[in-house]
């Protein structure tokens, strides 16, 4: 709480910024938004009163992909200035209705969509999954989180991951209706207090069962749990890392041919922010029949899908073409049949882009676990 009292430039060391502009140069939204991150940094340093920012809607254009932080030669995190400004707006209560709804939903119901708490585990009811709260310490916890719990499209990903884990003979549990949002997006929308509240609630349950490993559906949750949950003793892995390990341990092998030409879209929170580039590629190339080609912009240079940083709940000023549409068009030019990805938000934004560009007949967006299930010769859950 005291942290917020400290002015933004001091807190984030912004005085050391040399205004080189590499951040803006790499920013995926600067090409189409008034948001100029270099200039935001400068303004936060020289302006005595930051209230002028509060009416500038472009502050919500940032997807928190963190390309700026990777590029900064001074090792600064320009993205944190955006989040800092959002924190101030949240404290003043001056935020858009859709953001308020997301925050209220997370506060009241433990998920930013405001869906009922007791429906959180509905997706899993016929899958015979252990209640993690009844497990002994040192086991594996699958942290599902909100998109996979409530969004019908992402529920399929959760179900396929369960299929893969069971195929590998992994014993694991879920927190069910006791799980609450990891808070990653909440924090990035500037609601630090609520993030802490959600974290405490999850930590309380983690503390009860002390899992050895926590596996997440989303790279966003993985990032929050791994890098922002203070005092969490468990190893935190995105499912791509965990499944890759299962392959190493000889518990999982893909033997069913899946003849398909695909590319892979790096989720920012998995790749850029946590350096997980190889595992997803190794999983998909180990599936027989897969012909894999890279996007021109891949790995550290991957183009953000615009789903992060609260953008699922806020359109922003969003002039120009959506980056997810650019991504789909690039993939079509490459002649692939599917874009494989490994993040619920990427999955949803890319799939929307396929629809808005009218390419439903030409290209598919497939989650890495859906592909894995095909490689195991199992049926794909397509309901919902």
């Amino acid at each position: 709480m005291e942290e917020l009292q400290q002015p933004l430039p001091e807190r984030l060391d912004l005085f050391t910024c040399i205004q080189c502009g590499k951040c803006t140069g790499g920013c995926p939204v600067s090409i189409k938004s008034p948001l100029n991150i270099r200039r935001v940094i400068r303004e936060t340093v020289v302006r005595e009163d930051l209230h002028g920012f509060f009416s500038r809607l472009e502050i919500w254009d940032c997807t928190t992909c963190s390309t700026c932080a990777i590029r900064c030669p001074r090792g600064l995190k320009p993205v944190d200035a955006i989040i800092g400004l959002r924190e101030m707006m949240v404290e003043e209560g001056r935020i858009e209705k859709t953001i308020i709804d997301a925050l209220d939903g997370a506060y009241k119901y433990g998920n930013p969509w405001g869906r009922a708490k007791n429906k959180r585990a509905e997706w899993a009811q016929d899958l015979d999954i252990q209640n993690a709260l009844e497990m002994d310490p040192g086991q594996i916890l699958y942290f599902v989180c909100c998109a996979a719990s409530y969004d019908p499209r992402v529920q399929v990903v959760a179900k396929t991951l369960v299929t893969v884990l069971k195929a590998a003979g992994v014993s694991f549990g879920i927190l069910g209706n006791k799980e609450v949002c990891c808070g990653s997006e909440i924090r990035r929308m500037g609601e630090v207090g609520l993030f802490e509240m959600l974290m405490e609630e999850n930590m309380k349950n983690f503390g009860k069962i002390e899992p050895a490993t926590i596996v997440t559906t989303s790279p966003h949750c993985m990032n929050a749990l791994k890098n922002e949950y203070e005092g969490l003793g468990s190893e935190v892995l995105h499912y791509s890392q965990f499944v890759r390990r299962l392959m190493d341990e000889g518990k999982l092998a893909f033997e069913t041919e899946v003849p398909m030409k695909v590319t892979y879209h790096d989720p920012c929170y998995l790749g850029k922010q946590n350096g997980v580039f190889d595992e997803p590629r190794e999983i998909l190339t180990s599936i027989p029949g897969i012909e894999f080609i890279e996007f021109g912009r891949c790995r550290e240079n991957s183009l953000c899908c615009e789903g992060g940083g609260g953008r699922m709940w806020m359109e922003g000023t969003n002039q120009g073409k959506r980056l997810s549409e650019v991504r789909v068009e690039d993939a079509l030019e490459m002649g692939v049949e599917a874009i494989i990805t490994a993040c619920p938000f990427c999955l949803l934004t890319l799939e929307d882009a396929v629809k808005t560009t009218g390419n439903e007949e030409k290209i598919k967006i497939i989650d890495l676990m859906e592909l894995a299930v095909m490689g195991l010769g199992k049926t794909l859950e397509t309901e919902g």
Partner: protein, 263 residues
């Protein structure tokens, strides 16, 4: 200008599967999420906006048990100055009329130029407390207010009427307004904001403090009582349209046209 806002804590029911409890006179609130009544939230925001333009103080009042501190504290975090909770076993079972008597007894002791309430409560939906309170206090009032302009001692308000009509009234202060949703955009109240007012004292008054006899409040002091609560019986008339997507679409459009749903 000194403003009093009356707020209620209600269960959120939009997403919930409601169950009627054993008494058949109430819903089972176990597992339901409670928050400030939506209309009251707009009333608090309206009060804060008035205070921001002309100064003064805001007192928020809620009738109910300790849990109601939650909505009072939220209003304090939003910008109210004082909070008062009215609670007494004798208040149990009060209808809108008895509730207005309790509130009237409390606001008499608090200097005020303006009293705001929500149009209605999300749970009972009577829409009666505000106007009954105005009547008891002898204050001019306007219900269903969607716009407030203040000029000295005169309020000019817009009222939302049926059939898309809007009425413009002027009232002299002191007055009471019942606030309609959509009048403003209530600001967000952050968790840190709520924590910051965690130690702020919330006044508590019972029937004795307010000079109310047990006969005047609760079920005894009420004009109405709930006999039974039940779900409306499932009626006839639902039609399931069969066929392919195209056939279904065609059939639906035909029905909508025939019955005036679309031109």
């Amino acid at each position: 200008m000194d403003i009093i806002v009356c707020i209620k804590r209600v269960p959120e029911t939009a997403e919930a599967d409601l169950v009627i409890d054993a008494s058949k006179k109430a819903i089972d609130t176990d597992g339901l999420v409670f928050s400030i009544n939506e209309w009251d939230n707009y009333a608090v925001e309206a009060a804060i906006q008035l205070k921001e333009s002309v100064g003064g103080t805001i007192t928020v009042i809620s009738v109910g048990p300790e849990e109601n501190n939650e909505v009072l504290r939220r209003a304090l975090a939003m910008g109210a100055d004082e909070a008062l909770r009215l609670t007494d076993p004798a208040f149990e079972g009060s209808d809108a009329y008895a509730m207005a008597k309790i509130l009237a007894a409390a606001v008499k002791d608090i200097p005020h130029d303006l009293i705001l309430t929500g149009v209605q409560a999300d749970d009972d939906g009577f829409g009666a407390v505000g106007v009954a309170l105005a009547q008891m206090l002898g204050l001019p009032y306007a219900a269903l207010v969607t716009d407030i302009q203040l000029d000295g001692e005169t309020l000019t308000v817009h009222r939302e009427l049926e059939g898309g009509l809007e009425e413009v009234d002027t009232l002299k202060l002191p007055a009471l307004l019942t606030i309609q949703t959509g009048i403003n955009e209530p600001r967000y109240v952050s968790i840190m904001g709520i924590r910051r007012v965690a130690r702020k004292e919330i006044g508590v008054k019972g029937a004795g403090d307010l000079g109310l006899s047990e006969e005047a409040v609760g079920a005894k002091g009420s004009l109405s009582r709930i006999e039974e609560l039940f779900f409306p019986p499932v009626g006839e008339g639902a039609e399931i349209i069969e066929g392919t997507m195209d056939e279904k679409t065609e059939a639906l459009v035909k029905i909508l046209k025939e019955r005036g749903g679309i031109a």
